[in-house]
Symmetry: C2
DNA sequence: CTCCTAGTATGAGATTTCTCATACTTAGTG
DNA sequence: CACTAAGTATGAGAAATCTCATACTAGGAG
């Protein structure tokens, strides 16, 4: 983690993300701009963060480490979004890990100094409530899909969700944790898609060849898609 | 759903659950007392509720119905707790179903009339934030456990969690949806516990005979138990 | 240039979990 | 009292998924 002293950049991020509108009073002036490198932790498992973060650029993942060594990847964070809000609100919460996937910039408010002020600001609280509510709904959807559908179905849906220009290019290690299956099994089903001719692998990644059957597989997963 | 016009009872529930302290202004006077029978819906799938509920007695379940006919039981609601807060906060949310397990009493505020007032009340918002935050953390824990551990381990943990006086007495239908497995498989593992001598079934229910090995099985599930 | 880490790949065999079929029991309802 | 819905139980076979082992590749760090 590194503090970035570049007011122009900070200002740019703030206006891109409408940072000032998150609060009822002018908190923007107190925010620091922080930078995190790939694989750094924004929040480390069970360590209470010192800032309330607002992700303005990059990508991160929220995950839960289980006692048997497995990791469950719960959610992806993409700008703009709060990070560390659970810990700000609830002194008793046990923080989950948030780790950087692509280099991140965050606007950050020191908790110690501004917690009281934030907890009395209805504009801020309303925004956090909505954010938490959507995040919870998303997490519930993901969890119930992981439980209720087979990996072929979920993977088809995930490929269609993350595809760019007909190419699927996600990291298998991460995807397996997100879809809640072993790496081995993910590769197995992926290989099956290739064998069936739905996908074809080339230098650019996995190329979607047969869209229709993938959509068909994904149909039940995606429907009821709030 | 039935409105209960019993001011004494309402007053009693309010003081039991510290209802008035949830708000910055006196909302208590506007709350109605409602009663729901077993299997009634407090919130029906995709139907926006007309009230913000506060469960003061009884038990209910939150679940997500998937397009393939399966239901994922996400969370149990026990007093005191909000119901319908996601819908109050976020106009875009797609409500999940909340169905009564044991007859419920709820204090209820009409959304149409008081939404604006509630969304400007920092005391209320703070309470909802904390509630949402804990609920989300709980849901995440449940989901990642369901993914990361085998049913024997999860069931052992669940038995120890819900046991009363050495007896396990939950409904298999519900538990299977909560633990994210088929009814058949739950019964299979349960029968295994009986065969191994961990449990013994009598008129009162499943009696815990060997606590130690159950605790051992549950250990990794329960550890990291925020 | 070498080492190390993260990521990709595949095989083989074992478990876990699912589907479907079929019965039986119990409590509530007309 | 008969009917119905919800819950309990068990068998058999199939599938989805896991564990473990083993190789190979690419990129960053020293």
């Amino acid at each position: 983690m590194q503090k970035i002293d570049d007011d122009d950049l900070k200002q740019q991020f703030m206006s891109e993300c409408n940072y000032e509108f998150l609060f009822g009073s002018d908190m923007a002036q107190h925010a620091e701009l922080l930078h995190f490198k790939v694989q750094e932790y924004i929040v480390e498992n069970l360590v209470r963060p010192k800032y309330l973060f607002y992700l303005v650029k990059g990508k991160a993942k929220l995950y839960d480490s289980l006692a048997n060594g497995k990791d469950a990847l719960i959610d992806f964070f993409t700008p703009p979004c709060f990070i560390g809000e659970m810990e700000l609100l609830d002194a008793k919460s046990a923080p989950f890990s948030v780790q950087v996937i692509d280099d991140c910039y965050c606007l950050a408010l020191p908790v110690a100094k501004y917690q009281a002020q934030l907890l009395a600001d209805p504009t801020f609280l309303r925004n956090v409530c909505i954010y938490l509510s959507r995040k919870n709904a998303r997490n519930i959807k993901t969890a119930s899909r992981n439980q209720g559908f087979t990996l072929s179905q979920r993977l088809a849906a995930f490929i269609l969700l993350t595809e760019h220009d007909g190419y699927y290019n996600e990291k298998h290690t991460q995807v397996s944790e997100y879809l809640g299956v072993s790496y081995r099994h993910l590769l197995y089903v992926l290989a099956e898609f290739v064998k069936t001719g739905y996908l074809k692998k080339d230098r650019q990644g996995y190329h979607i060849i047969k869209l229709k059957p993938l959509q068909q597989l994904a149909r039940e997963v995606t429907s009821s898609n709030s």
